[in-house]
Amino acid sequence: MDLLASQLINGLHVGSIYALIALGYTMVYGIIKLINFAHGDIIMVGAYTAVITLVSLNWSPVAALIAAIVVCVLLGLTIERVAYKPLRSSPRISSLITAIGVSMLLQNAALLLFGAQPRPFPIVLKVEPLRFGGLQISFITLLTLGITALLMIGLQAFVHNSKPGKAMRAASEDYATAQLMGINVNNTISLTFAIGSALAAIGAYLYVMAYPAVSPTMGSLPGLKAFIAAVLGGIGIIPGAMLGAFVLGIAESLAKAYISSQMSDAVVYFILILVLLFKPTGLMGKPSGEKV
């Protein structure tokens, strides 16, 4: 029973990191209907920024976090303007391919700049794990869960109550009409990317605190899984991303524990396939149709 509980906690921890990443995916997809394949690699860039500022430049952990956020936001905005904006009216397949290209670009540029060898991330927080009964929960796990919850609540509030947030929702419902209503859709999209990238940077920092190794390919698998989580919960729906991420994290953890590590990846893909086949709009999604 204890074993199960610890595996569940592992799952929640992994899930909360996926959640932070998934939020970025889901917001972008909601408005411009694009799977930003490069999102996972923005995490990698954030991690490298953090490790370089911490180790080579000797900045404080907080300063490193801010640096990571700034760099990721700038990167996200640049990618959007340069690679995605020109293709907004092109067939979907073009944007998809471009996104793959951007992802490859980031990974291979990092490979050339930093080498393939992982870099260790220094320990920034040394707190004793908390113990409940027979269970042990690391402080970082609690921190990650807490921050994720706060950010999600904050994001929901922002999207529902603030003016730019409402603009985002409008644009994701009906792009053309939102423009006609005087919403500056370009800025709204840029804001979406900015928020998504900032969340990715925070997610990256929490990720390397838990798994202290930074390498050029570190972002692709978590990125893909976070995307699957977003789809699972209902793409475009913010609480859905959280739900999907936790479900996925737990499923992955249990699969690792009770089946095998390699199969856990297959299980994750399998879940994706089941969701897409039986409820493509996800656990919290609403169906929509195409006008004939």
Partner: protein, 618 residues
């Protein structure tokens, strides 16, 4: 021979000359082991890229798990040649075939669920399947698990003790398999089945409405691509003689995608060239390996931003033209009898004088709580022109969608020629005899006008995909037939000179006409026109009115049209239904409708517009 035939025939000769040149060079040792190996790799890559192009280029769906099919073909064929004790010359072709079939079967199993999705979702789900295949291979013991398979018979050594002779034979085998596969993709693309696949890419909804069973064709394209990838995998396994699952991961799929994109999606020629360039170049630039993937990623982005049609644009099909030229040449030389022409099947419709051709009884549909249409009772007799008018949102297009099977009714019945069409898929209903046009013109924009019409003949033709690939007598005779028919149809609409113009570049009015022309090609009994006059000026509208009357006279078809242009409606309709809030509020002759107070209140408005409509009659 005219100039065109001459340059095309030179192309065929080019292939043969290339083969002879390369194999002689290999035989004499001038092309050494290393280069021969590169040539074989190029051929295998060409097969992979061209097959991916069938899914991504022709069908227009991004599939990210293509390397998974290669893996299946590789493992199946390797295991077969390792375990069969017959001579390699026999076991190899057999194992390649079975490897391809195994991959095709997986393509079928994956495609059936996956192809219900579109775009991004399909891409991700194929990615997922590709990874699952890899994980399964790694965890089975028969495939050697993580260790992979080793000591697979090597192609270049297996055929003879003499190394050079063996290499020549291996190269011959691979070269001609590649040529066969490429030509089959060309010929399939040009057959009715290829047209069907391309039409789905262009406009899936219109394709379904034009009579193409879209699900079946998506599957066909997918399975076809998987089959060839499997064969390529088999060749690959026997070329490098050691395989493991990690070779066939996501990165490999991406490499082929880059080649497809570079060469141009939909352009098989482009795939060939891109494969050659992207295999040869890294070998020549061996010092720059580290930059290779970086350069690829730049290429992907730049291509999509600046030249999405690929380096070669859409230049294509000269190989097919070569084949066609050879056919003509052969028939001239051997004085064969002209191939017969088989006209497309014309359905015989049972018409009774007193029974309506189309009839609905209490037809209705609910969307959640909203009754979008209710108690719809319309009937249409042979050769009638009937109008359906009403304010926007009244449910007119909804009724059309019900009649064509796009929506399933919640209540009521639809009888076509006395038979219920309840539960029939849109393409089946087209086959049964109802055709339509769309409010927003849905043409197959990158196909020629002639091809747009030819697509509609699909359900009236019979030849199989295999016949299409082989271009045998049944294929050629039917293609001749629809060529004649399609041109005839265009002539009726005075568009025969537009036959080879790309549909997307036609002026608006002619696009409309083409859409109507296409609808008629499937030989329907009922023609539904959804706002045909939208966006037209008065003179174009007048011309349209003449066209519609001509259609009714010439083609023995009943026409139901939705329109807002009262001049047109009052001018040609014999009866009119008026819809409002999903119900029929009036039905009668134009005079009756014009003077109906409820109609005026709901839609026609003040007497002013009524007088305008009256003027139209005169």
């Amino acid at each position: 021979m005219n100039k065109k035939t001459k340059s095309i025939t030179l192309n065929i000769l080019g292939i043969l000359v290339l083969y002879v040149a390369l194999s002689t060079l290999i035989g004499s040792g001038a092309i050494n082991n290393y280069l021969s190996n590169i040539l074989i790799t190029i051929c295998i890559t060409i097969i992979m890229t061209a097959s991916l192009n069938v899914t991504t280029g022709l069908l227009g769906q991004l599939a990210l798990g293509h390397a998974g099919f290669m893996a299946i073909g590789a493992y199946v064929s390797a295991l077969l040649t390792k375990s069969l004790s017959i001579s390699f010359g026999l076991s190899l072709p057999l194992s390649l075939m079975l490897g391809g079939l195994a991959a095709a079967m997986c393509g079928l199993l994956i495609g059936i669920p996956a192809l219900r999705l579109e775009g991004d979702y399909l891409a991700i789900i194929t990615l997922g399947f590709g990874e699952i295949i890899r994980v399964i291979i790694e965890n089975l013991s028969i495939t050697g698990g993580a260790r992979g398979l080793t000591r697979i018979t090597r192609l270049s050594r297996a055929f003879s003790q003499d190394r050079t002779l063996s290499m020549v034979i291996a190269f011959t085998l691979v070269f001609f398999i590649t040529v066969l596969i490429i030509s089959s993709i060309f010929t399939l693309g040009r057959s009715r089945h290829g047209r069907a696949i391309i039409s789905i890419r262009e406009n899936a909804i219109a394709a379904e409405a034009t009579g193409i069973p879209t699900t079946r064709y998506k599957l066909l394209a997918f399975v076809f691509a998987a089959f060839y990838a499997g064969i390529a995998g088999g060749l690959f396994a026997h070329q490098i003689s050691i395989i493991d699952a990690k070779m066939f991961g996501f990165n490999k799929s991406i490499e082929y995608l880059v080649m497809v994109v570079l060469g141009g999606m939909g352009s098989i020629t482009g795939s060939v060239v891109a494969s050659i360039v992207l295999v040869a170049l890294p070998e020549v630039l061996r010092g720059m390996e580290e930059y290779r993937l970086l350069i690829y990623s730049f290429l992907l982005i730049l291509m999509m931003l600046f030249r999405p049609s690929g380096l070669l644009g859409t230049r294509e099909f000269s190989m097919l033209a070569a084949w066609e030229a050879m056919e003509r040449f052969c028939s001239k030389v051997f004085k064969r009898k002209d191939t017969p022409t088989r006209m497309p099947f014309q359905p015989r419709y049972d018409i009774w004088e007193d029974k309506p051709v189309l009839e609905t009884r209490d037809l209705g549909i609910d969307f959640g709580g909203l009754k979008a249409a209710e108690d719809i009772n319309v009937h249409l007799s042979d050769n009638e022109i009937v109008g359906m008018i009403g304010p926007n949102g009244a449910g007119k297009t909804t009724v059309f969608n019900l009649l064509t099977g796009v929506y399933a009714p919640t209540r009521g019945e639809i009888m076509l020629l006395g038979k219920s069409i309840h539960g029939r898929a849109p393409h089946q209903i087209t086959h049964d005899g109802i055709a339509r046009t769309f409010q927003n013109i849905r043409l197959f924009n990158s196909m020629s006008a002639l091809d747009n019409v030819k697509v509609a003949f699909h359900s009236r033709m019979r030849y199989s995909p295999l016949s299409g690939i082989l271009r045998n007598a049944s294929c050629l005779s039917e293609e001749r037939g629809i060529d004649i028919r399609a041109r005839e149809l265009l002539r009726v609409f005075q568009m025969e000179s537009d036959a080879d113009i790309i549909a997307g570049s036609l002026p608006y009015g002619r696009q409309r006409k083409l859409e109507i022309c296409r609808a008629l090609a499937s030989n329907p009994k009922v023609l539904l026109l959804d706002e045909p006059a939208a966006g037209m000026n008065p003179s174009e509208t007048a011309e349209l009115m003449q066209t519609i009357k001509l259609i009714r006279d010439r083609f023995s078809v009943a026409i139901l049209l939705i329109e807002h242009d009262m001049k047109l409606v009052m001018g040609i309709c014999e009866r009119i239904y008026v819809l409002n809030y999903g119900r029929i509020i009036a039905h009668g002759s134009p005079e009756e409708i014009r003077s109906n107070p409820e109609v005026i209140a709901a839609y026609l408005g003040q007497p002013q517009s009524v007088q305008e409509a009256a003027h139209a009659e005169s």
